[in-house]
Symmetry: C2
Subunit: 154 residues, 2 copies
DNA sequence: CCGTATCCATTCCGATACTG
DNA sequence: CAGTATCGGAATGGATACGG
């Protein structure tokens, strides 16, 4: 039996998870952000079976996260590139990265760092911040039902 | 056959996903952040079968995301509360929320908003920012191999 | 109310072989 | 290289009945 779908839940977290909350999607986005665009790029990086890579890529194209372009060199191939929607998942990846760095490494274990290319400095920690710039604790926020309406997908 | 484990991948994103990248964990964290702490709180919110709720909660306790406390009123019951590690997943949830709000709503659809309790104003958008405060585009960051070592899980 | 136990359907995923 | 096709094992998840 299929998992209940949260694709039209009122909660945007549930909606997001319904689309990208599976084992592979975010890792494929991670690799695409690094520059991976060919089938074999993803396969070598993740070591997943070709059939399931095909299925994932197809679904991500359907969902508007990736789009295919003809390869500039080989007319019978295509490349997978992130759409703007897909690129904007980078923040989610950074959040996961920082959480993992904080809690999932043993003392003394070697780590990687995300840096900005210009200065080579690590990026800042993400944090939930109020409109006036104050850092907020988990208890200091709440979800409010808005009459506000969506502008629609970008 | 089981999915390959990324629990000791070098990439912190893969490690995080290995622990929390399943269908239910982040939704349980979401509800816990709202104040849910009893078995039935979660079950009513998510509508999932009791056996799998049991399994999820247990794994999250093992992973140090939740901890159980005896219920103040009934000695034979317990409550589930987020650890500090679990609370720090809030940033991930906010990132997912904002992405979902941007891309997963039809025009005109009603939305919720995360606001700070004091002023009632929506929280700021998360963004990847350099050490000196400059907003960074996806192409402007890279992953560097660090000789830096982890301080260890908090 | 708070789970545990059992049963079953589905889906995910890996391995592998094969095609253009 | 870029997939497609088939097979089979395993984990997930739903329904439900049951116990403290």
């Amino acid at each position: 039996m299929r998992r209940k779908s949260f694709g039209n839940a009122r909660c945007p977290v549930a909606r997001s998870l319904d689309m990208i909350g599976d084992w592979w999607t975010l890792l494929l986005v991670r690799d695409a952000l690094r520059g991976a665009c060919r089938f074999s790029d993803f396969q070598e990086s993740l070591g997943l079976a070709p059939n399931i890579l095909t299925a994932r890529l197809r679904k991500m194209v359907e969902d508007g996260i990736l789009e295919t372009h003809p390869s500039p060199e080989r007319s019978d191939r295509c490349e997978y590139h992130l759409t703007a929607k897909g690129q904007r998942l980078q923040v989610v990846l950074v959040a996961l990265r920082q959480w993992g760095e904080d809690h999932l490494y043993q003392p003394g274990e070697a780590m990687t760092a995300m840096v900005d290319k210009i200065h080579g400095e690590p990026v800042r920690r993400l944090g939930v911040v109020s409109a006036n710039g104050q850092a907020l604790q988990p208890e200091e926020v709440e979800i409010r039902i808005e009459s506000k309406v969506a502008a629609g997908p970008g």
